[in-house]
Amino acid sequence: MDEIVAEYIRRTVLKIPRDQIRTMLQQWGFLSEAQLQAINFCQIKDSISQDVVQLCEQFLFFLDNYIYSNKRLWSVYQMNKRGEETDFFDLTDFKKKFKRRLQSALTNVTINFREYEDNAIWIRIAWGTPYTKPNQYKTSYVVYHSQTPYVFISVSVLKSNLPLLCQALVAASNYHDIREMELRSHYLNSLKDIVFKSYSQNFQSYYPKPLQERNVAPENLMIIQENKNEKERIKRVNSEVFGDGPQPKLEFAQYKLETIFKSDPQMNVLNRKVPFRCLVKFSSPHLLESLKSLAPEGMADAPVSPLLTCFVNP
């Protein structure tokens, strides 16, 4: 929301007599009863009007997410601290420093914040140029979990603003630097699951196999599975690595690999063992689910190579 508009709302609400504010909001009928109850009408008027502005901002975030849910491409960044200092996280300080950094570099930029229950701070940024107003249609979003060094960024089109955005984040959060983590997806929650390792990890436990009535169709008695034990081993090993639940939805991933070319020694290719450096890129509608099905579908040995399972535990 435009700061001028937000300021207008704030000042106008201040002009309304305190006992009329609630009635006015009820008349408007836009806010739910629950939201109305969340506003403390006994506090000073300045705070009440701030609350109203915040509610309008909430609608802005809500609207953006409603339209663009799962259409934004999120990247993960990790911030590093110089030493071991654990500063207490001050939200107001963070917002102030972030805004100051961005606005000192760019005059035309709109910044809105929203805090969520899971310690996540969402930042909405509309970028402008010295000659144009901020474009509200192509916004960047940042999700920062203050208890972690991870930041999720959806840049949209204006990649040239990314370095400035990163600088502002690092300065505001008292970190030293920031680096991109080579994981990308349209599904923010899946990225969070991978990075925060909160999806189901399979722990060793004994499940007694239930006795089943074998209602086998007569046709199937003539088809004999020779490798039943092996198939069960593959399932078990796969479960240990990937867990049993649904995989987080990862779409792009990449890593740098240093390796040595292996060839027949008689072929005399590359006499000196100089390592190759390469970039390995993965792209899939559902990368982790594909990797999980490699062994059961007979496309790879189980356990699957750690070059492929590194995404499960980055």
């Binding site: 088809i223 004999i224 490798n227 092996e230 007979g298």
Partner: protein
């Protein structure tokens, strides 16, 4: 238990086919297609991912009439799997009782196994190669019928035609 000999013309009425390959789903589908065909003999179809077969079941193996190795042209892994398994097949089987089923040729963009590798298999092991898109039902049915004919010959059901004769017939017709 019966002993499988190439020119044994006294057929036992229960024939044993082995499908060896890494794609279990496709094996299962082909096996079901074979069972659906009309035949005058009983048949057991064994599905294996690779050879050698697990030794626990050795006592239940009276005879092996036909071995069909399944290769997916989109998967180098499936080719390597078959090549490794071939080492465990007794030489006598290569006189007509082995064939290769190659799937996936319909999608050239995804081929990672070269034709030269397939041709080499055919030459080295003197066994026929059938190219079949097993994912398509019509081709699956046709392949099932062909395998059943081969099985009949290999088991000695067709008088005057031995597995070796049929095998050499298939190979010479392939060299056009």
């Amino acid at each position: 238990a019966g002993i499988s000999r190439i020119f044994d013309k006294v057929p036992l009425s229960l024939l044993q086919t082995y499908l060896v390959g890494s794609d279990e789903g496709l094996q299962q589908q082909l096996a079901e297609a074979i069972l659906r065909e009309k035949k005058s003999f009983r048949i057991n179809i064994h599905l294996a991912t690779s050879l050698p077969l697990p030794s626990e079941r050795d006592h239940l193996r009276p005879r092996i009439d036909l071995i069909a190795f399944m290769i997916d042209i989109k998967s180098k892994y499936s080719l390597r799997n078959v090549e490794a398994s071939l080492a465990y097949v007794d030489a006598s089987f290569f006189l007509g009782k082995v064939c290769f089923l190659v799937t996936g040729v319909g999608r050239m963009k995804y081929c990672s196994v070269e034709m030269s590798a397939i041709c080499k298999l055919r030459e080295v092991y003197s066994s026929p190669v059938l190219f079949c898109e097993l994912e398509l039902e019509g081709i699956r049915v046709a392949t099932a019928q062909r395998l059943l004919r081969m099985l009949e010959i290999c088991a000695g059901f067709i008088p005057g035609v031995s597995a070796l004769y049929f095998g050499s017939l298939m190979s010479s017709s392939a060299n056009y």
